[in-house]
């Protein structure tokens, strides 16, 4: 029997007992539908997290702080050092935890560490408001993301910040576009805005900047993006012309060679830890979030697979009944010279056809319903998370689900197919 005839025969045999096939296909449908949806949730959420990671920073940066003081709590009071004892609030440890600030000497030490290419201190500035430079309308409260110089914004219009530019550049969150009187994100690009800031003596200053891009609001990095030139200008305005004795920074950003392997990055972190600094990559900071998401998706997938295993027993049952029913037919085909191997192939193909039907319909319905659901959620429940596409159907993962179900179906078909292949034509054709 030719392969195409085997396939055609298997397909037509599948539809011979319509009710039975339909019920088995339904069982597989449930599993495939669930698996497609859970995969899509996993893909959608991790794509969103990836975008957020991009907003937080490049993959080749460390966020470096002094090692936390909390660890040395039992060691008694630490001796005062006039050169390096400024404390800054730390985001490591419980709220209110402080950590020693990084000084210029620290920055030199860090940049001298083998593998680190450059170190930039993160200077935080606290602007008061932003207003449209041209129209001088309403002033809005405004903040700047201190690490925006090294991050990649999730842009809806315009371009990324140019770190090397001497012009003051700004990436505006898209929620500011309409309030500031711009018609659209594209309209905002190239416009001039005025940022107000109060110096340490209480005097108010304004700084002008050009909008180069508009970004989606990010879950993990709030505020507008500013390039080095704008930050420097704002920092100068904020300091009120007074040069503080010790320049200190809470956080520094260290670039490392992006060709380093994961092990080398770990080694580099250990080197910095030995020197008394805590270095973490963006991935480290988001690791916990991603682990939780992966865990949840994994559990959901496990449920879907359990449904598929239950469906597999349905396939076994259906095919065993089919073999029983078609004993005569199998015997006849064998009497007519069909080999056991071909009979085996025929029944395996029938199992695969059932699996394909269930999974293709399941995946198709999941994509259809999921796309509608995703749109409804994006406009409703999840509208606070712009850019989040909760269900992302990747062709590769949908194809994977279909192939997986077909594999499960094939394995379920093994037992019935073997039984059919072993049938003795004489026994099958006996009619006393």
């Amino acid at each position: 029997m030719r392969t195409q005839d085997l396939v055609a025969t298997a397909i037509s045999n599948t539809f011979r007992s319509k009710l039975r096939t339909t019920l088995t296909v339904l069982a597989i449908f449930v599993g495939a539908f669930t698996l497609t949806l859970t995969n899509a949730v996993g893909a959608g959420v991790s794509q969103y997290v990836d975008a957020q990671v991009g907003a937080l920073g490049s993959p080749d940066v460390f966020i470096v702080t002094q090692a936390s003081q909390a660890a040395s709590a039992d060691d008694g009071p630490v001796e005062y050092d006039p050169n390096g004892s400024a404390m800054v609030s730390s985001n490591q440890g419980p709220p209110g935890t402080t950590t020693q600030a990084l000084t210029d000497a620290d920055l030199t030490t860090i940049s001298d560490t083998a593998g680190i290419e450059s170190v930039d201190p993160v200077r935080s500035v606290q602007p008061d408001y932003i207003e449209n430079g041209a129209e001088s309308g309403t002033q809005y409260e405004f903040s700047i993301n201190a690490t925006s110089a090294v991050t990649t914004a999730d842009l809806t219009a315009g371009a990324q910040l140019d770190g090397g530019s001497s012009e003051a550049e700004l990436v505006l969150p898209d929620t500011f576009v309409t309030p500031l009187g711009f018609d659209s994100a594209e309209d905002a690009v190239g416009a001039s805005v005025t940022i107000g800031i109060t110096d340490i003596l209480g005097e108010k200053h304004t700084v002008d900047a050009t909008v180069v891009g508009v970004s989606l609001e990010s879950l993990l990095a709030a505020g507008a993006g500013a390039n080095d030139a704008l930050i420097a200008e704002l920092a100068e305005a904020q300091s009120g012309g007074i040069d503080t004795a010790v320049t200190s920074y809470g956080v520094a950003i260290a670039h490392f060679d992006d060709t380093l392997s994961a092990e080398q990055i770990t080694a580099l972190k250990a080197d910095l830890a030995a020197a008394g600094y805590t270095a973490s990559t963006i991935e480290d900071q988001l690791g916990a979030v991603q682990t939780v998401i992966t865990g949840i998706v994994g559990v959901l997938n496990a449920f879907a697979v359990i449904a598929l295993i239950a469906a597999a027993f349905g396939i076994i049952n259906t095919l065993l009944m089919s073999v029983q029913e078609r004993t005569r037919e199998i015997g006849l085909m064998k009497a007519m010279g069909m080999s056991g191997g071909k009979v085996y192939t025929l029944f395996s193909l029938e199992a695969i056809v059932i699996g394909f039907l269930g999974s293709a319909i399941g995946a198709g319905v999941a994509i259809g319903l999921g796309s509608i659901l995703s749109n409804v959620l994006a406009d409703g429940l999840l509208s606070g998370l712009p850019g989040l596409n909760i269900l992302l159907f990747e062709p590769a993962s949908v194809a994977f689900v279909i192939l997986l179900v077909m594999l499960i179906a094939f394995l379920s078909g093994t037992l019935p197919a073997q039984r059919a292949a072993k049938q003795n034509p004489i026994e099958s054709l006996r009619y006393e």
Partner: protein
């Protein structure tokens, strides 16, 4: 001599089971069938006639003895070659039709060609040719389940015929049909023999059908017996196993093989004298071609 033989079986023995439940179905049967011949294998239930047909058709292997098909020794052939031989050289007609329901008549007929791996277009052409020959061309696209009994058996013959076989094995080909349609089916089979030279091997209870064949092989208790020896007992079994006639409960009990064996065993002693008298009525039997098992 052997070149003209389609089937040359020697000293076939076959038994089922072991120990006390051992049953010797064949106890040494030799049989030569020449090309173009029509042979009837006649015997009661449990006589071993079906087993003999299965061995001749290479559906089963004998415990001892050899079967040659068209000069080829079956034992020397691989399983694949045997499958191919059955597919190309043999056609099968059974008492029950074994048609695939919900599949068209044409698809049923071309099943052996499909198994042989012949392409769709060629299959269709040949299938229609055969259906034309059997005057079923107008039913080609009908479902097999919509046909009458006689039409179904004609489809079965078409299926046996479609691969241009050398031999058609027919196991009770008219057992499920009324006399009139049975006669039509018989005519078709004998026409095929006459016009296309296809060898017929017919297993039957039916004396009239057996009488139409060139040669009758009578099988009793696993051995070939001289012509006509089981004739009258055959009548009694004919009644007890006739599916088309209504029976009272006691009679249908004879379907049980052991019961039937006891039943016929009691008859065989008394039947012999009468059998000799009816023997000559099988006038078509050419004594020269009848081969009796020499192992006995």
């Amino acid at each position: 001599m052997s070149a003209d033989l389609v089937i040359d079986a020697r000293d076939l023995e076959k038994s089922y089971g072991s120990g006390s439940s051992r049953f010797d179905a064949l106890k040494g049967v030799s049989l030569q069938i020449a090309a173009g011949e029509t042979v009837a294998i006649v015997g009661k239930s449990g006589s071993g006639k079906s087993t003999l047909m299965h061995l001749l058709a290479l559906l089963d292997e004998p415990d001892t003895g050899t079967v040659q098909v068209a000069g080829k020794e079956a034992k020397a052939l691989s399983r694949r070659e045997i499958n191919e031989l059955r597919n190309k050289e043999f056609g099968f007609v059974f008492q029950q039709f074994f048609l695939t329901p919900n599949v068209s008549v044409l698809d049923n007929v071309i099943l052996p060609l499909k198994i042989a791996g012949i392409r769709g277009k060629q299959r269709r052409t040949r299938g229609l040719e055969v259906l034309n020959q059997l005057e079923l061309a107008d039913k080609a696209d009908k479902k097999a389940t919509t046909l009458s009994g006689g039409q179904k058996q004609r489809v079965v013959i078409g299926r046996a015929l479609v691969n241009n076989p050398r031999v058609i094995f027919a196991d009770e080909p008219t057992g499920n049909l009324d006399t009139a349609t049975g006669a039509v089916v018989e005519d078709i089979l004998f026409d095929l023999n006459r016009e296309q030279g296809i060898t017929l091997v017919i297993v039957t209870h039916d004396e009239d059908l057996a009488a139409r064949c060139d040669r009758q092989i009578y099988i009793r208790d696993g051995l070939i017996v001289p012509g006509g020896a089981v004739h009258s007992t055959d009548h009694s079994t004919d009644h007890s196993t006739d599916h088309t006639t209504d029976h009272v409960g006691t009679h249908t009990g004879a379907h049980n093989p052991t019961h039937a064996a006891a039943h016929t065993g009691a008859h065989s002693g008394t039947a012999h004298p009468g059998a000799d008298a009816t023997g000559p009525t099988a006038s078509t039997t050419p004594a020269s071609t009848t081969s009796v098992g020499d192992a006995s």
